[in-house]
Symmetry: C2
Subunit: 454 residues, 2 copies
């Protein structure tokens, strides 16, 4: 066996000192956010009532390649980073594949996912600006948990609007947020105007991410000292998540490993965008010839069946317009347990890269994903989150192809989190009652018809 350890750990000194801004390497920059009223690009001043000032600067900067990680964030990172790059020796052996499989594991923190990388950054800038607190929405709960932890650390108030159905079905996620002192409200609620309107129009509704976003934004803009924060899609989030890719790059370089395929799950794109950032730069610059693959659920296939167009980021249509691969902001994904992948749109950065032919995308049905997840758990130990398991599924498919061809490809994928709060989904899988709904062309067309026209 080679001299590569099971887990490649960087030392604390090797933790990246700066985030990398992939936009700086892109020949075609991502399209700007547009004001939904004027259709003009959003300026920093337009965004100031909603977002923190320094985060806006990061959001709008397509040119600066590196942003130094402030010491306060760096110190927090050191509590759970560098995260390990794991050589999946046991999976390789179980699959009898000549492929070398590596995964960057982001689940070893209490939020259970990579979301903490951006949550702590956003909380820091809010604190630095002298704010009282931040508001956000959460669906599956990973982002809300991560933000609660970050706000607790900086002693910021944290108001989370949690999609009502998740609030009721995932009481444990809610309870973790309470441990960290967050104020968690089921959405839609009577605490906001938009919530009241929705409850009037749809009594008994169990809520949606779009509605929760609208409530969180309303509370942020109508309370002095508050701003709204978001855990994916935005350029700033991909910037913070570049720490994943930079660590992966450093770990691979230690052993002179050149990736042949890089795979990540993609909902809003925060993990994938972070993981690939240095590799995509090298690919753009002609220094790396790796395939880069986004994996999405067949139930919510923005890349593989969506259109590249300006669309609203939320169903309430209060947020700016973003040019992205989208299923339309009216698209309601079927109940799919990978809650973190149930988003109608996609990061504008990743959308542009995909449109430029620099990335591939594939969609996979849920039952296949859980089969891969269980097979992985049994040999690699880690119980993966349903979101992460989309990447596992495709990594295993690629490793199986290597078994056929005899190629010893280096496959690298992002294992974004753990599935400890997703056991209702695993139970459905075990009991054979998991749904595999795939939207029809007619459904998608109806949703596309609602895209903003201009």
């Amino acid at each position: 066996m080679e001299n590569i350890p099971y887990k490649i750990y960087l030392t604390e000194d090797e933790l990246p000192k700066a985030w990398y801004n992939l936009r700086s390497a892109m020949k075609t920059k991502p399209a700007p956010l547009l004001n939904p009223g004027t259709h003009e690009p959003m300026s920093a001043a337009d965004l100031a009532p909603v977002f923190c000032d320094e985060l806006i600067a990061q959001e709008l900067d397509n040119d600066t390649p590196y942003f130094e990680i402030p010491k306060e964030i760096y110190d927090f990172y050191k509590m759970y980073r560098p995260s390990p790059l794991v050589r999946a020796y046991c999976l390789e052996k179980a699959m009898d594949t000549p492929a070398h499989i590596y995964y960057k594991f982001e689940g070893n923190n209490t939020s259970g996912s990579h979301k903490l990388n951006s949550a702590i950054a956003q909380a820091y800038y809010a604190k630095k600006q002298g704010l009282k607190g931040v508001t956000t929405e959460t669906g599956a709960g990973q982002w809300g948990t991560a933000l609660s932890m970050a706000c607790s650390y900086f002693q910021l108030d944290c108001k989370v609007f949690m999609v009502k159905v998740s609030y009721e079905q995932k009481p444990f996620r809610r309870e973790v947020m309470r441990v960290y002192g967050a104020d968690v409200t089921p959405s839609p609620s009577e605490t906001t105007n938009v919530g009241k309107k929705i409850l009037e129009a749809h009594p008994g509704t169990t809520g949606s991410l779009g509605c929760a976003i609208s409530e969180a934004v309303e509370v942020a803009v109508s309370n002095p000292g508050y701003r709204y924060v978001l855990g994916s899609v935005l350029n700033q989030v991909l910037l913070h998540q570049s720490v994943i890719g930079l660590e992966t790059e450093a770990a691979l370089k230690k052993y002179d490993i050149v990736p042949d395929i890089i795979i990540g799950c993609a909902g809003g794109g925060s993990n994938l965008g972070g993981l690939i950032s240095p590799f995509m730069r090298d690919k753009i610059e002609g220094k790396l010839n790796a395939r880069i693959v986004a994996v999405e659920p067949a139930s919510c296939p923005s890349f593989t069946r969506g259109v590249y167009a300006y669309d609203f980021c939320d169903t309430g249509m209060v947020c700016p317009l973003a040019k992205m691969y989208t299923l339309g902001s009216n698209f309601i994904p079927a109940p799919n347990h990978a809650g973190g992948l149930r988003y109608h749109g996609m990061s504008p950065v990743l959308s542009q890269l995909y449109d430029d032919g620099l990335m591939e995308a594939v969609s996979v049905p849920q039952t296949e994903v859980f089969k891969a997840a269980e097979a992985f758990a049994r040999v690699e130990g880690i119980l993966p989150a349903p979101e992460s398991s989309h990447a596992i599924k495709v990594a295993m498919d690629e490793a199986a192809k290597c078994r056929e061809t005899g190629e010893a490809k280096n496959i690298v994928f992002g294992l974004t989190g753990t599935g400890y709060f997703d056991l209702v989904a695993y139970e459905k899988f075990h009991n054979g009652v998991m749904d595999d709904y795939i939207p029809t062309d007619a459904e998608l067309q109806a949703s596309f018809d609602g895209l903003p026209k201009f």
Copy 2:
């Protein structure tokens, strides 16, 4: 700030190559297990129908200092070990204490605790003996999960009897075991004679650990190719868990840190016995002057209020007699959420060390434990298991004393696991409905009266 990192990681090469047998250093050896019928010491032949042969050899060996870790177990360890020794900089800062606080974190694996260290060893020896499978009981579920993972890795059948009340209240734990292919039966069940008898005598009972042990033992001895395995109390388990202490010792030595106080929670003693093993050896040999502190729940205070006597390990009285600090095998602890600490007895090794004055013990009420747990989570990020939080509570008390005296003591404690499956308990804590029941002297006396007499 010193040059000590937030997390001291050993390299894979520094993972201990052998387990350390603390009994070899003890001047007074732990008392032998006795046959409940004859009151003679149990021989290897007596134990053979119940336990695996190599584990029996480890159980009975008070002299061999080191047992080499077989390659198959070592390879598995490399998937999640070495575990980090964390310097709790954030907790120190939040408490404004001059103390240096370190914790050995064993929660970064899917079983969520240190139990996996012994589970994989016991599964390996069962496989090596050519057995079909193993049986066990689980209360809180950590041990059952760990054993399921280990059996899945070695493709052994795994039959878990889970205390019925836990089976019903902790469906997610059960589901994790199903991911790993274990057969989980709520206990008492109709599948065993002892289960049927208990159900007849106590219809509607929600079960107990003692009953689950009796069912698991019955299935092991009455099915060819099966043996029974146990996650704590036994000498062999402490031997396997010495990997915790050996890694801790190696990590401290890297930075020339000499511990002043070593703290661990104690139920059956598996974590504490493993953590302290090399340090207790040095203490016995006069090379280390550290205090060693066991922390137990006030609801189940074997060390602090029990007696040192021969007692049954199970309530069904089918297991051998062990000399240990015990509350009596009839003692039923009040519902305390630290399920892993609800055991009437204590490891014979630790019992002898405590009796020899080499260890201290302290008991703490549950609400205080959860207060410490939440304070810890908010600054150190990790959501701790209720069991582990007993150690946190006392470590924080000691750090607070250092604040008063100005001493920069080195406090080391074992953080055995995460609390992701204990959120019902956290919810009770948040809602102010947590019980703090402490047994009365009369209750304990009644239980002592039932101790075997000879």
